[in-house]
C-alpha cells in the first residue's frame, strides 16, 4: 500500500499516521481484557485445581491426564461428531443441490430471492425458541408431528426426542434445518461471483450441465466451500444450545443426556454446575486442539484436490 503523502506545509510536520493508535486504542483495550485475557486465563486455570473461589492450586498436567482417560469426555466427543456428521451432510447436501438447481442455465428457476429468504428463516430465530418449538412439536405423546403421522396411518408414536437412538438424529436434523439456508446463501453468492463468460464459453463448446458443474462451478467455488465447511466444523464441534435445551428439564434428562451430551455441554457442567473449573478448562483446551487438528486436516485435503 502506498504511503500516504502528507502535504509538506510546516504546520503538517506531525505524522498523521500516529492518530491510528488513538483510533485502535478502544478496540485493543477491550480486546485484551475480554477476548485475549479470558483465553489465557482459561489456559492457566486448566493447569490448576479451582473450585470457583479462593486461589487456584497449580496441579501441572493432572487435568489433561484426566481428560485423556475420561471415557465420558470421549463419549461426549463421539456424540458431538455423530450429531455433527449427520447435520453437515444434510445441511451441505441440501444447500449444494439448491445451488445446482438455482444456477442451472437451462431451467432458469425463478423466485431466487423469495426462496432464499424462506430457506434462511429458521436461521434467524434464537436457538432457545427453536429448541422449545421442536420440543413441543416433536413430543412423543402430544406433539403435532406424531398426530399428523397418526392421521396418515402410523400407529405407533415415534419418540423423536426421547429415544436415545432417535434423539441425536432429530437434533442433527433440527440443526441442519436451521443452517442449510445459510450455507445455500453463501454458496449461491459464490456462484453468482463466477464470471458469466466461463459459462457462456462452456455452452458454446457444447459442454453439458454436469461437465460445466464439475469443471467450472466446483473449482471456482472451492475457496467458499472451504470457508463453509471449516466454519461449520468449528461451530459444529462446539454444539451446545439445541442439544442442551432439548435434553434439559424433561424427566428423560438422565437417559437423554447420554446420547445428546456434547463436549461443550460436558465442559459447561464442570465449569458452571459442579465447579471443577480447572478440569473444565482442560476440556475446553482439549476440544480446541481437536478442532484445530480437524480444521488443518480438512483444509489440507480440500486445498490439494487437483
Amino acid at each position: 500500500m502506498a504511503r500516504n503523502s502528507v502535504p509538506a506545509g510546516p504546520a503538517k510536520k506531525k505524522n498523521i499516521n500516529n492518530v491510528a493508535y488513538l483510533f485502535i486504542a478502544p478496540f485493543i483495550i477491550v480486546f485484551l481484557i475480554f477476548s485475549v485475557y479470558p483465553v489465557l486465563r482459561t489456559l492457566y486455570l486448566s493447569f490448576t485445581s479451582y473450585p470457583g473461589y479462593g486461589e487456584p492450586q497449580w496441579v501441572g498436567l493432572a487435568n489433561y491426564n484426566r481428560v485423556i482417560n475420561d471415557k465420558f469426555f470421549w463419549e461426549a466427543l463421539w456424540n458431538t461428531i455423530k450429531i455433527w456428521s449427520v447435520n453437515i451432510v444434510v445441511q451441505l447436501g441440501v444447500a449444494f443441490l439448491l445451488t445446482i438447481v438455482f444456477s442451472d442455465i437451462k431451467y432458469r428457476i425463478r423466485g431466487l430471492s423469495v426462496f432464499r429468504a424462506v430457506f434462511y428463516l429458521p436461521n434467524l430465530i434464537a436457538a432457545a425458541s427453536i429448541a422449545f418449538l421442536f420440543k413441543t412439536l416433536l413430543d412423543w405423546r402430544f406433539g403435532t408431528l406424531n398426530q399428523i403421522l397418526a392421521q396418515l396411518g402410523v400407529d405407533n408414536p415415534i419418540p423423536w426426542l426421547t429415544s436415545p437412538d432417535i434423539a441425536p438424529f432429530s437434533v442433527a436434523m433440527i440443526n441442519a434445518w436451521m443452517w442449510f439456508g445459510n450455507s445455500f446463501i453463501i454458496l449461491m453468492a459464490g456462484v453468482q461471483g463466477i464470471p458469466k463468460d466461463y459459462f457462456e464459453a462452456a455452452a458454446i463448446d457444447g459442454a453439458n450441465r454436469w461437465k460445466v458443474f464439475g469443471k467450472i462451478t466446483i473449482p471456482m467455488l472451492r475457496p467458499i466451500l472451504i470457508y463453509v465447511s471449516i466454519t461449520s466444523l468449528i461451530g459444529g464441534l462446539q454444539m451446545f444450545d439445541i442439544p442442551f435445551l432439548i435434553a434439559q428439564g424433561t424427566d428423560m434428562t438422565a437417559i437423554l443426556r447420554g446420547p445428546l451430551q456434547t463436549v461443550v455441554m460436558y465442559m459447561y457442567d464442570f465449569g458452571f454446575r459442579t465447579f471443577q473449573v480447572g478440569y473444565a478448562g482442560s476440556i475446553a483446551y482439549a476440544l480446541f486442539l481437536i478442532i484445530l487438528a480437524a480444521a488443518v486436516i480438512q483444509f489440507k485435503i480440500m486445498n490439494k484436490e487437483d
Binding site: 502535504p7 477491550v30 428463516l121 402430544f142 453468492a189 428439564g249 473444565a280
Partner: protein, 275 residues
C-alpha cells in the same frame, strides 16, 4: 416437454422445502390459539379460540416483556458499539501506516477462527472477579472488540474509499477524526449497516454467554427466559401457553425479517466473500 415436466417437479420440491421451513412456525401460531387439551387430542391448521386463556397463563407465569426490554437494553448498545468501533478500527487498519499493524491484523484473523468456548471459563472468572455477575456490562462492552466485523470493514474500506478524497480533505486542513466522522463514515454506511444487522441478530439470539452471566430471573434476556420454561411445571401442562410464549419471542423477528430480508441476507455473505 420433458424439460417442462422436470422444471415443474423442481418447483414442487422447492415449494415442499419452503413449507418445511415455514410449517413449524405456522403450527406454532395456530397452536398458540388452541387450548392444551385440543392440542393434545388432535391436529389442525384451523386456529382455536383459547388465545386469551393461553395469554393469561403466559402472563401469570413470567414477564416476557421484561425479557424483551432486557434483550433490547443489551442488543441495541452492543450493536451500536460494534458498528462504531469496528468502523474506526477497520478504517485505521486499512488507511494508516503504523508499527504493529500487520501483527494486529494477524491476531484479528486468528481470533476469528478461535472457538468461542475457549474463553468462556476465563471470561466468567474475570467478570465474577470484577463483581459484574448479573450486570449487562459483560454483555455490552465486549462488543467494542468484534474481530470479524473489523476484518470485514477493513476490506470494505479498501474497496470503497478513494485515497484522493482523504488527501483533499487533509489539504483543506481537516483533522483526522473529523475526516473519519464526516467523510469516511457516510461512505462506509452500507457496509456498516450490513454488519450491524448481523451483529444485532447475534446479540438478540445469544444464549450461552447471557446464561452464565445472568442468574436473576428479572435480568434474563429473552432467550434465557424462554429457556427457563423447561423448569416450570404448571405452564408445561398447557402446551398452548408454551406455543404462545415461543410465538411471542419469534413473531417480532419474523416481522422485521419480512421488511429487511435483503439486508439480512447480504450480511451473511459479507463474511465469506473476499472483496
Amino acid at each position: 416437454m420433458w424439460t417442462l415436466t422436470k422444471k415443474c417437479i423442481l418447483y414442487v420440491l422447492l415449494i415442499a422445502l419452503a413449507l418445511i421451513c415455514v410449517l413449524p412456525f405456522l403450527l406454532m401460531m395456530v397452536n398458540a390459539t388452541r387450548s392444551g387439551r385440543e392440542i393434545m387430542t388432535f391436529f389442525t391448521l384451523i386456529p382455536g379460540d383459547s388465545l386469551g386463556e393461553n395469554w393469561e397463563a403466559v402472563i401469570n407465569y413470567f414477564n416476557l416483556f421484561r425479557g424483551y426490554l432486557n434483550s433490547l437494553i443489551v442488543a441495541v448498545p452492543a450493536t451500536l458499539l460494534t458498528a462504531y468501533f469496528s468502523s474506526l478500527t477497520g478504517y485505521a487498519l486499512a488507511i494508516y501506516q503504523f508499527r504493529g499493524r500487520n501483527l494486529m491484523f494477524g491476531v484479528i484473523v486468528i481470533f476469528m477462527m478461535i472457538p468461542g468456548q475457549l474463553g468462556l471459563l476465563g471470561f466468567y472468572n474475570l467478570i465474577s472477579g470484577l463483581k459484574l455477575v448479573n450486570s449487562y456490562i459483560p454483555l455490552i462492552i465486549p462488543a467494542i472488540a468484534a474481530p470479524g466485523t473489523v476484518f470485514f470493514l477493513r476490506q470494505y474500506v479498501l474497496s470503497v474509499l478513494s485515497k484522493t478524497l482523504l488527501e483533499a480533505a487533509r489539504i483543506d486542513g481537516a483533522r483526522e477524526i473529523y475526516i473519519f466522522h464526516k467523510i469516511v463514515l457516510p461512505i462506509m454506511a452500507p457496509g456498516i449497516a450490513t454488519m450491524s444487522i448481523g451483529a444485532f441478530i447475534g446479540n438478540w439470539n445469544s444464549y450461552l454467554v447471557p446464561l452464565i452471566v445472568l442468574t436473576k430471573p428479572d435480568r434474563f434476556t429473552l432467550p434465557v427466559m424462554i429457556a427457563s420454561l423447561s423448569a416450570s411445571t404448571d405452564i408445561a401442562t398447557n402446551q398452548g401457553a408454551i406455543y404462545l410464549s415461543v410465538a411471542i419471542s419469534v413473531v417480532p423477528i419474523l416481522i422485521v425479517f419480512a421488511f429487511c430480508s435483503k439486508y439480512m441476507i447480504s450480511s451473511i455473505t459479507a463474511g465469506s466473500i473476499k472483496e
